[in-house]
């Protein structure tokens, strides 16, 4: 054992000071990153008068959930005054099918690209990978034309389609790298046992895919939920997703600016992704690591 290791083991001397510095820095950065969230939450529980009079970092003197109720049910967005409730459900209706479809298709693509290789599979994968690097802005106009031609303009189904197509590059990449290390002998064995293409996928491959499914679902969920550009481009009015509605709420110019309502609505908009991270976050790290090492 070297002198330094001894010092760490006994918790004395320079090692203790480096500990203090490390934890000190970590706490400072944690506070730094948590401040906006704190301000949002505390502001959302204040009354408008208190916001105008008080300090931004001060805790609410008379906490009230009025702003939350208003944001959810009666705030005015554009010309309607029914809160963000409807838009929240719009987002749910968009996110759930888009995440599920893009994940399943990504898994199928990964399966084919690793276990049922065909001539030119590398080129196909390369092109799908390329899809990850296309900037959103460059596809807006062609996409609008396609949606129009399909009769899906300004509909949730249209947004689902856009997000599935755009997400496919990423989900395929995730699953391909994961399945690349999946033993091919298992597939061959199942083939000899008489299992077909989909039976192998469902019975052999999918049950072993939990880590990468979690990664893909979290990634897709956050991306699609937080998307603003596609939402604002391909939907309008009552069909808008949450992010667009939030923007409209904040930028509505009638009357006074209700910061507490804006903050409450913003927290509501961020809540689903937060929940997903809290629930599945550790699987996310594990899955990412697995992919990183194996891929």
């Amino acid at each position: 054992m070297s002198a330094q290791e001894m010092a760490i083991a006994t918790g004395a001397g320079p090692a203790r000071w480096s500990r203090v510095v490390i934890y000190g820095l970590l706490i400072v950065f944690a506070l730094f990153y948590l401040t906006p969230l704190f301000v949002m939450l505390s502001t959302s529980f204040k009354t408008l008068d208190e916001i105008r009079a008080g300090n931004i970092i001060q805790l609410p003197a008379h906490p009230t959930a009025d702003a939350w109720g208003k944001a959810w049910g009666s705030a005015c967005i554009g010309v309607t005054c029914e809160g963000i409730r409807g838009y929240f459900w719009n987002s749910i209706k968009m996110v759930v099918p888009a995440v599920l479809i893009s994940t399943v298709l990504g898994a199928l693509n990964g399966y084919v690209l690793t276990k049922w290789r065909f001539p030119g599979h590398k080129i196909v994968f390369g092109m799908m990978l390329f899809a990850c690097f296309i900037p959103f802005q460059s596809v807006l106009i062609p996409m609008a034309r396609v949606l129009g031609a399909l009769g899906l303009s300004n509909s949730t189904a249209g947004l689902v389609l856009v997000h599935v197509i755009y997400g496919l590059g990423f989900t395929t990449l995730f699953f391909r790298n994961y399945y690349d290390t999946f033993p091919t002998e298992l597939i061959q064995s199942a083939q000899m046992d008489g299992a077909g293409f989909f039976t192998i996928f469902r019975r052999i491959l999918l049950p072993s895919s939990a880590p990468i499914i979690v990664v893909t679902v979290i990634y897709q969920f956050t991306n699609i939920w937080n998307d603003f550009l596609f939402g604002v481009s391909f939907s309008s009015g009552d069909n808008s997703p949450m992010t667009v509605a939030l923007n409209n709420l904040v930028s509505s110019s009638t009357g006074v600016k209700e910061y507490n309502v804006d903050m409450a609505a913003a927290v509501i908009a961020a809540l689903p992704t937060l929940i997903v991270y809290v629930v599945a976050g550790r699987y996310f790290m594990r899955g990412l690591m697995a992919g990183a090492i194996k891929g």
Binding site: Q188, S189, A190, M192, D193, T199, P207
Partner: protein
């Protein structure tokens, strides 16, 4: 007509010929071992029989019918993979039942078949475990059970023992042999281990560079190897190879290793370059009707427990000789030995083929 007939089978991958016209016949109930160094094409051949890789030429017939264009599952062949390929998410019982489930066997008869096979292989107590909880030997047994349960007409084994430790390997080897004796199954088995080949096979096929070097019974392969490659590859220690030139009278061979002349059993053309092959058991203390006595210095003494191998200096060559385990000898001493030339194999040095 043989049960398994492989006819001029070829396989080319990216311009490289991996299999260069393979012809194999195997009787029903036979145990064929494909053996050769890595990269000789033996695993490719097995994949072609299984249907996992399509051959580029030739035909494979089982029981008279060509199977080349059949899907792997339609060939009625079961395979035990090197990595065992157990499905990690299923229990042992589900693993064994999987081929039956895919074949649409009703649940009750499935359970019955699994129970029967599990009993044969003594893995009944493992049926509810996952493959991850099993030891290497247990996994091996489960993989065999999964192959057995279908009662296929042909079993394929792809280096099934190479992931086991030495002791377990001998145990499982004996188990496979017993399985073959009890079930009279037809088996094709791939290995790079020549001892596995010798102990298990009723027929050995030695391959090198996609070409069959020799096919025959273990005794034929061991005692009359078709060429110098087979002689060197099969048997441990390897056959002693002594190159030399046939003498002017055609009745002896002057060894290149030094100033030694060894008589030949049958005369050859004077001046011909030949190589004399002698197994270590053909060099020893006991005299035979035809041979030559020599006094050779001992360099290395190798006791194996059952035998004692002496490595003797013969000019520039080093030859191995087998002695009884009770024999005592020290390095540096001179050991009188008898070269039993009735068991000598003569190869043409240039073509490497056996000529006598």
């Amino acid at each position: 007509m043989a049960f398994i007939e492989i006819d001029n089978l070829e396989r080319t991958i990216g311009g490289n010929k991996i299999l260069k016209g393979i012809d194999i016949e195997l009787e029903k109930g036979g145990f064929l071992v494909l053996v050769g160094p890595s990269g000789c094409g033996k695993s490719t051949l097995l994949s072609a029989i299984a249907g996992l890789q399509q051959p580029t030429g030739g035909d494979i017939r089982i029981d008279g019918d060509s199977v080349v264009n059949l899907h792997p599952s339609k060939r009625d062949i079961a395979m035990v993979f090197q990595s065992y390929a157990l499905y990690p998410n299923m229990t042992v019982g589900e693993n064994i039942a999987f081929p039956l489930e895919m074949a649409g066997t009703p649940k009750e008869s499935r359970a019955q078949a699994v129970g029967g096979v599990a009993k044969t292989l003594q893995i009944e107590h493992l049926l509810d475990r996952k493959p991850g909880q099993l030891s290497g030997g247990q996994r091996q047994r489960v993989a065999m059970a999964r192959a057995l349960v279908r009662k296929p007409r042909l079993f394929l084994f792809d280096e099934p023992l190479s992931n086991l430790d030495a002791k377990l390997r001998v145990e499982v080897r004996a188990e496979i042999k017993r399985l073959h004796q009890n079930t009279h199954a037809t088996i094709i088995y791939v290995t790079h281990d020549q001892i596995e080949a010798m102990t298990l096979a009723t027929k050995i096929v030695v391959m090198k560079d996609g070409i069959i070097q020799q096919a025959g019974t273990p005794a034929q392969i061991y005692n009359t190897p078709a060429n110098m490659f087979v002689a060197d590859f099969m048997g441990s220690p390897a056959m002693n190879m002594l190159p030399g030139t046939v003498t002017a009278d055609g009745l002896g061979v002057a060894l290149a290793a030094g100033n030694f002349t060894v008589p030949l059993a049958s005369p050859l053309a004077p001046g011909r370059k030949i190589t004399l092959g002698l197994r270590s058991e053909a060099i020893g203390p006991e005299k035979s009707e035809f041979g030559i006595a020599m006094d050779l210095p001992v360099e290395i003494v190798e006791p194996t427990g059952s035998d004692l191998y002496l490595w003797l200096r013969l000019g520039s060559a080093l030859v191995s000789a087998r002695f009884p385990a009770t024999f005592e000898q020290k390095p540096g001493a001179v050991q009188p030995v008898w070269l039993d030339l009735t068991r000598a194999v003569v190869f043409d040095t240039e073509s490497t083929a056996r000529i006598g």
